[in-house]
């Protein structure tokens, strides 16, 4: 099937312990970096490789590192964002459960490059298994002199701690994560200052995603040119930094024959991913559409499945970026109203409540969709949904963080792309049996 030899997932099925990891060549890139490279050279290599953050925003990793103040007396912190809560996304869980030491090696390289001395690995609460596997790996790394003081005798000092969340999506927003780490409500901060200048405990902080950090290991091992040989250059020659390079973990879920995590060079088309890796749509049916990168990125119709899953091409279909590269397919018999209702319910539940437009707006959108599913939809509802979606978020400038941009975007997208289906649904006055168990607590 695959003509590409996995890199990030090359050790899936191999033992998780540090002895096996080292026997497979692990921690050699770290040794190489400590012996041969100065921190600024590592940052330059990561920039040259064109590595963009895998967590959702796609910001240049090397550039992010370069924003740290020079000659800061410290401490500098690294926060590893394992609050992987974008619905239908699980690639980092899979990565950690199958190769925790690769992530630790990435953490160490990032700490060396940025001069961070403490790494907090913020796990969403639901990732108990991954957190325990990581805890074991961290213990092994300490025992082998790969964490703690004077790592590998090279004067590098790094401590790593696991910090577990408590079931809140907003903790994946980097300043929400920092607030949560500090023991406060996870209310995102107004930026600037950005975390690189003033982050955790008011010190310079880098927040990175585990897959991004794992990519760094292989950039050091195989070089920036190797990384750039995978993927697709920018379509705009004037903006070369917009390229999509390197291997990428893709998730597939929903109405698909073989859901899972697949490592593929950046830029496979949606259709290819579904057919070649996912074994096609289940039950021999046709797809109606797909969410290409986590709920907040928007919705592709089946006619748009030629879209490449990279940082660039999805914009052709008004999709808000690659997101988490988590593709969820729904078949031709699925009601678009159900899909959008599920999305609205999620964001309404997960709005942190700090900014009124988001707290209220996500609730209004959910109420409208609930009404629609109760057979009482009105024709003007579609315009109201789009209007609310337009007015909440950092794009219109009404909120502190991007949660509500992500809440409004897929709804606006769906109303525009599936308007005829929505109108027919409203006109028919059909009632949908909604699971509406009384909630004692929530």
């Amino acid at each position: 099937m695959a003509d590409f030899e996995p890199v990030l997932l090359r050790r899936v099925g191999r033992p998780l312990d540090i002895w096996a990891y080292r026997a497979d060549g692990g921690y050699r890139p770290l040794e190489k970096a400590l012996n041969e490279l100065q921190p600024p050279q590592i940052i330059q290599m990561v920039r040259d490789a064109g590595l963009r953050g895998r967590g959702g925003a796609g910001f240049s990793c090397g550039l992010k590192w370069s924003f740290l103040p020079k000659d800061h007396p410290g401490p500098i912190y690294l926060c590893v964002n394992i609050d992987e809560s974008e619905p239908c996304t699980f690639n980092n869980r899979y990565l950690i459960e199958n190769d925790p030491h690769q992530v630790i090696e990435g953490v160490l390289l990032a700490c060396y490059a940025t001069r961070a001395t403490t790494a907090y690995l913020y796990f969403r609460y639901e990732y108990g298994k991954a957190a325990r596997i990581m805890q074991q790996a961290i213990g092994e790394a300490y025992a082998h002199g790969l964490l703690g003081d004077n790592i590998l005798g090279k004067g590098l000092n790094v401590n790593a701690y696991i910090h577990r969340g408590a079931g809140a999506y907003i903790c994946g927003e980097e300043t929400g994560l920092i607030e949560s780490l500090e023991g406060k409500r996870a209310w995102p901060r107004i930026k600037p200052p950005y975390p690189a200048v003033e982050g955790a405990f008011r010190k310079p902080t880098v927040v990175n995603n585990p897959e991004t950090l794992s990519c760094v290991v292989h950039i050091i091992d195989r070089g920036a040119d190797w990384f750039k040989s995978l993927g697709i250059p920018s379509s705009d020659p004037a903006r070369p930094e917009r390229g999509s390079y390197g291997p990428k973990l893709y998730n597939l879920s929903g109405h698909i024959n073989k859901p899972g995590t697949f490592e593929i060079p950046m830029g496979i088309t949606t259709q290819e991913l579904i057919d070649k890796y996912g074994g096609g749509v289940w039950k021999g049916k046709k797809a109606k559409g797909a969410i290409p990168g986590g709920l907040s990125t928007g919705i592709l119709t089946a006619a748009e499945f030629d879209a490449r899953l990279d940082y660039d091409d999805l914009a052709r279909y008004e999709i808000m970026g690659l997101g988490t590269a988590a593709v969820t397919v729904f078949d031709e018999d699925t009601s678009i109203v159900d899909v959008v209702y599920n999305i609205a319910r999620f964001f309404s539940h997960e709005s942190c409540g700090q900014c009124t437009p988001c707290r209220e707006g996500t609730g209004w959108m959910l109420q409208i969709l609930e009404r629609m599913r109760a057979g009482q939809g009105r024709r003007e509802d579609l315009d109201i949904l789009a209007d609310v979606g337009d007015r909440i978020g950092i794009i219109p400038g009404t909120t502190i963080c991007g949660l509500s941009d992500g809440a409004g975007w897929p709804i606006k997208n769906a109303v525009k792309k599936f308007r005829a289906e929505f109108e027919a649904y409203i006109k028919s006055g059909q009632k949908k049996q909604t699971v509406s168990l009384a909630l004692a607590h929530h």
Partner: protein, 160 residues
């Protein structure tokens, strides 16, 4: 009357060296108490605050943000917390029906526990195990592909 055992207090103190201040130990402390007591009482909040050198209001402010923690004894958790995923990937493969079925079979509703105190039922926003939808979380470990034929076995296992 003090409610935190010396053992829990020591476990909380053991976290102090990891962070530059004690407030950062709020979530770890709440987890430790919640796991053991199955809820975090006002008295427990007061004692956590004393350990962390915070006001009880600060600890409560943080705790109440995360709907995760139970505050009242009458609403404490059962022995096992069973989270049913209602994310999109699960909804597409029977997640909503799974939540309804388990509610009926356990004779409880999300947010409550069974009469024998053994199982607390919850709904979860996507738990990140979508390759095995519909899925559940048993405390904090996922169980994949909980198809209708597996519901009774799951309940029997958790009731043991």
């Amino acid at each position: 009357m003090a409610v935190l055992s010396e053992e829990i207090k020591q476990k909380i103190r053991d976290h102090f060296p990891r962070y530059p201040n004690k407030q950062a130990v709020t979530l770890p402390a709440l987890h430790l108490v919640h796991d053991t007591h199955r809820y975090v009482s006002l008295e427990a909040i007061r004692e956590i605050a004393e350990l962390l050198e915070l006001s009880p209001a600060e600890v409560h402010d943080t705790m109440s943000f995360y709907h995760f923690f139970r505050e009242k004894e009458e609403n404490r958790l059962g022995r096992t917390r069973l989270w049913v995923c209602r994310g999109l990937a699960c909804m597409l493969r029977g997640g909503e029906e799974l939540l309804t079925d388990l509610g009926k079979k356990l004779d409880t509703v999300p947010g409550s526990r069974t009469k024998d105190d053994k199982i607390s039922l919850e709904f979860a926003e996507c738990i990140g195990a979508c390759e095995g939808a519909p899925c559940v979380l048993i405390n904090d470990e996922y169980r994949l592909d909980v198809t209708p034929d597996k519901q009774d076995g799951l309940i029997a296992e958790l009731r043991q």
